[in-house]
């Protein structure tokens, strides 16, 4: 590198301001698009002073420091202009002018009142109606056929994708951006052209045929009907995402046409765009399109819930918001009726109950024949698992909503008294108290020699076994959910709508995953996946290494319950009253079971039975 072009190039070239007149003719009004090499403006052509004639001015800023590169860019630009000048079709914008001023070249073309298809897909909350997509697809076949029939040589568009399809105010399609239609250079590496995701396999090899445009049109229709952007999926993976599996409104006929267009082998696709148009017209005839009938809102396929019957259920006197413990044939669960219940796990028969002076939302822990659990009566209770008789209690200065964690001869728990407590298991005496900025409602998580806990101020602490702060982290809102993790990373969600992955040794943030709404759901780990619920009603599955969403499942209300994985299923409750059983690799629903109230506690699975408490006062046992 002979010159210091890095600094030189780092300032972004300025956009033209409104009011500037280009070539003493085109008065710039506003930016309507941003491309890879410059902006697209709406401008008024001042040669027509008595009418407002609007034009689109496409700008190409040549910032390449290398003269050879610069020349190539100008040539490409002129090629687009010359190509457009020879074309006349209602779906191709007319070209009016082109010129170069210093390092900027401009193409003046017809202004299209409308929106591009990608924006339409993104701005619509539901699937676009098939009939609508169908009529656009038919028009696109028309214009592709026109290009492919061009004499002397066929023109291959090579860049069919939603953002290059404008829908004008009449609802007709206009194909824009012929810039990519450049000669295909078969180099050593990087002979790429077209748009990743929409391009057929052979285009990467340097073969550009009409059939490539047909594939890309198939990909465009696929994107429009599924809302799945193929640029974010592996190439040539459309067959793994059949239309009707994602959007059940799509007709089988439409799916068949799209599948044919997306055939891997070019010979298996439609031979010409005209053939594809014919097939689409046949779909329209069969399905009753082109009369644009909006399909009503359709809910997804409902899993049978009538078939699921609980093995048993047991009714307490108030809501159950806590999580059960199942051990040695017994189930222990706390209730808002202030009691801790011991039930026979096999049939739900009552064994004993232990009364406290406050609601119990925590999950009991069993150690050495004793149960440990906190109550809103501010106490940690230790009772015999066999008899339900108290062994000892420990007082904090606030209600306890944090479940205890046992490790190294101590019980760790948080309290609304703004402390994390470490209590000796044998003596029941406090070993240390660690002061936090706010109430600790999360369950402490112990990993190696550190205790992790978040609090209601959003502060998150890693404390060693002597009660000394190792590091702290601050989330923007409270951390009510508990932490899970491995030596590699710890995970927790926050009311700031984020799922965090932190390095347990030093608190540096490895990644953040954005949830739709705040979360108090404790994540769950299984293999490379991490699952968490959010008050946006969704259960998310996220790759623990890349923080990429693997699937999401929408329930009908907030998910404050925490998911668990048992064998190949994920179980999670929702405020909609259902306990969901999903295939944990795919998020597909296996069954759901409706209780009479919101489920906010975490289910527990043991010996092929899943147990869950509900705010309908009952605890249920279901076949997993």
């Amino acid at each position: 590198m002979s010159d210091d072009r890095g600094d030189q190039g780092s300032s972004t070239p300025r956009q033209l301001q409104a009011g500037i007149k280009l070539a003493n003719r085109y008065s710039i009004q506003e930016v309507i698009g941003i491309g890879g090499m410059g902006s697209v403006y709406r401008a008024r052509d001042m040669h027509f002073p008595n009418v407002t004639k609007l034009v689109a001015v496409k700008e190409m800023i040549n910032t390449a420091p290398d003269p050879l590169v610069r020349d190539t860019i100008v040539q490409n630009f002129e090629r687009e202009a010359n190509l457009l000048a020879t074309l006349h079709h209602p779906s191709i914008p007319r070209i009016y002018d082109y010129f170069t001023i210093e390092s900027r070249s401009y193409l003046v073309i017809e202004f299209i009142h409308g929106k591009d298809l990608e924006a339409i897909i993104n701005d619509t909350n539901s699937f676009l109606p098939e009939s609508q997509v169908l009529s656009w697809a038919i028009e696109l076949c028309d214009v592709l056929d026109y290009l492919h029939q061009h004499k002397p040589d066929p023109i291959i568009f090579r860049d069919m994708k939603p953002s290059n399809v404008m829908i004008n105010h009449n609802g007709d399609v206009i194909l824009v951006d012929f810039g990519i239609a450049k000669t295909f250079q078969s180099g050593i590496k990087g002979t790429m052209i077209g748009t990743e995701g929409y391009s057929p396999p052979e285009q990467y090899r340097g073969e550009a045929t009409p059939s490539a445009d047909i594939y890309a049109l198939g990909a465009t229709i696929h994107h429009a009907l599924t809302r799945r952007d193929p640029r974010l999926e592996p190439p040539f993976s459309f067959s793994e995402r059949p239309l009707r599996r994602i959007n059940s409104n799509v007709s089988a006929e439409m799916e068949a046409v799209v599948n044919t267009a997306l055939e891997y082998n070019p010979d298996s696709r439609f031979r010409t765009a005209a053939d594809m148009k014919q097939a689409l017209v046949a779909v329209a005839r069969k399905t009753g399109a082109p009369v644009a009938v909006a399909t009503g809102p359709q809910t997804g396929p409902k899993a049978a819930s009538g078939g699921i019957k609980p093995l048993w259920s047991f009714k307490c006197e108030d809501e159950i918001r806590g999580t059960p413990l199942v051990s040695q044939g017994m189930l222990y669960i706390g209730s808002y009726d202030n009691n801790l219940y011991a039930l026979n796990a096999a049939d739900g028969k009552f064994q004993w109950k232990y009364p406290t002076d406050g609601g119990i939302v925590t999950r009991p822990v069993l150690f050495d024949g004793n149960l440990y659990f906190g109550s809103e009566d501010q106490r940690l209770h230790v009772v015999s698992a066999r008899t339900g008789k108290v062994v000892w209690t420990y007082y904090t200065d606030g209600p306890i909503r944090s479940s205890p964690a046992l490790a190294e001869g101590h019980v760790f728990l948080g309290s609304d008294d703004n402390h994390l407590h470490a209590v000796n298991l044998n003596t029941g005496r406090v070993a240390w108290k660690f002061e936090t900025a706010d109430a600790v409602r999360s369950t402490p998580f112990v990993l190696r020699d550190l205790v992790f806990a978040g609090c209601e101020s959003g502060d998150y602490y890693a404390v060693d076994f002597r009660g000394e702060l190792k590091w702290r982290f601050h989330a923007k809102r409270s951390v009510t959910a508990s932490t899970v993790g491995t030596e590699q990373a710890i995970y927790f969600s926050s009311m700031d709508s984020t799922l965090y992955a932190l390095d347990p040794r030093n608190g540096w943030v490895l990644w953040r995953f954005r949830l739709g709404k705040p979360s108090i759901s404790t994540p769950c780990l299984a293999e490379d996946l991490i699952f968490v619920g959010s008050s946006d009603g969704i259960i998310y599955a996220v790759d623990s290494k890349s923080a990429k969403e693997v699937w999401r499942f929408r329930t009908e209300h907030q998910v404050n319950s925490s998911p668990i994985v048992y064998k190949d299923s994920l179980y999670c409750g929702s405020v909609d009253g259902n306990l969901y059983c999903l295939e944990y690799r795919t998020g597909r629903v296996r069954w759901k079971f409706n209780t009479g109230g919101a489920i906010t506690g975490t289910p527990v699975a043991f010996d092929d039975i899943v147990y869950v408490g509900s705010t309908d006062h009952q605890v249920y046992a279901l076949l997993a």
Binding site: G9, G36, M37, A64, D66, G190, L232, R505, L510, R512
Partner: protein
């Protein structure tokens, strides 16, 4: 380390210290292993060591690869934290200014990441970082994408970048350069997935592994820095292997050496520097059809 290997391989040294003339029975395999284990460097502080190697190869005139290796320590409240940034970028195609692209990629990514960590490396500001490692890498790649489109439109480059902080490696990857873990027992684990046509066809089952090796368009990438509007780099965080090595390299290396070759060249070397030289020499001995770049990193302590 160096010394013990030479001694084990039987090199005669003109030394006459008391130990050397002492009469000893041959050591058992176990005893040798115990000695070797004892010689492994043990430090109470974790630290990174790294080395790199580059060659234009035997058949190219131009070097279009770019490489960066920065190794240091971040002093902080939670102790000294090893910090490293390693990047390999392989510019594409001779006529499309590949070296401009790979160079811009390295400069931009490294510049962006180091600017982010500058306050922490030099303790200028004590506040917590409000971005995650993955977000920083993502933003660095996006900035590099813009820089290439500005400086050399139409060109492209691969990019495999590893940010190491403590025991965490955060990798950003586009194209067909690779990141590997190489273990002392000879296991080789590829961390990255090539964004190449041939790999995709293989994944889809359209061609076999053997066909892939001889596929005429082996070099065609479907994702590269500088190309396309929506760039979706693979970004992930993994733990540093201990014991083991992190290796980044361009296809000039992995394209001609088997995984066994890679592991052997590294595990037989007496130092990281020697290992990098061995790898480059082996790739050149195998024909050196392309530019060769390699970075080796080890976390000790």
């Amino acid at each position: 380390m160096d010394k013990i290997f030479r001694w084990l391989s039987g090199n005669k040294k003109p030394s006459t210290s008391a130990q050397d003339i002492a009469n000893t029975a041959p050591l058992s395999e176990q005893q040798i292993q115990a000695i070797v284990n004892n010689q492994n460097p043990r430090f109470d502080l974790q630290q990174l060591i790294s080395s790199c190697g580059q060659s234009v190869g035997k058949q190219r005139e131009l070097n279009e690869d770019s490489l960066l290796a920065i190794t240091t320590t971040m002093a902080g409240n939670t102790g000294n934290l090893p910090f490293g940034l390693y990047i390999v970028a392989d510019g594409m195609g001779g006529h499309q200014f590949g070296e401009v692209a790979s160079n811009a990629a390295i400069r931009t990514v490294a510049g962006y990441v180091l600017r982010k960590f500058h306050p922490y490396l030099f303790h200028i500001k004590a506040g917590a970082m409000d971005e995650s490692f993955q977000e920083i890498m993502q933003a660095a790649v996006s900035e590099a994408q813009r820089a290439i489109q500005r400086e050399a439109p139409g060109s492209g480059t691969t990019l495999t970048a590893a940010l190491v902080l403590g025991q965490q490696i955060t990798v950003a990857h586009v194209g067909d350069s690779r990141a590997y873990f190489i273990y002392p027992d000879g296991r080789v684990e590829s961390l990255t997935r090539d964004h190449s046509l041939v790999r995709r066809l293989e994944e889809l089952g359209h061609i076999t592994h053997d066909e892939a090796a001889n596929y005429p368009h082996r070099n065609v990438l479907y994702r590269a820095l500088g190309q396309g509007e929506v760039l979706d780099p693979d970004i992930f965080t993994v733990g540093f292997p201990q014991p083991g090595y992190l290796m980044l390299c361009s296809d000039g290396l992995w394209g001609v050496l088997t995984e066994q070759d890679l592991a052997r060249s590294i595990n037989e070397a007496t130092s990281l520097q020697r290992a990098c030289q061995n790898l480059v020499n082996a790739a050149n001995a195998a024909g050196g059809p392309d530019n060769i770049s390699v970075v080796l990193v080890q976390l000790i302590g």
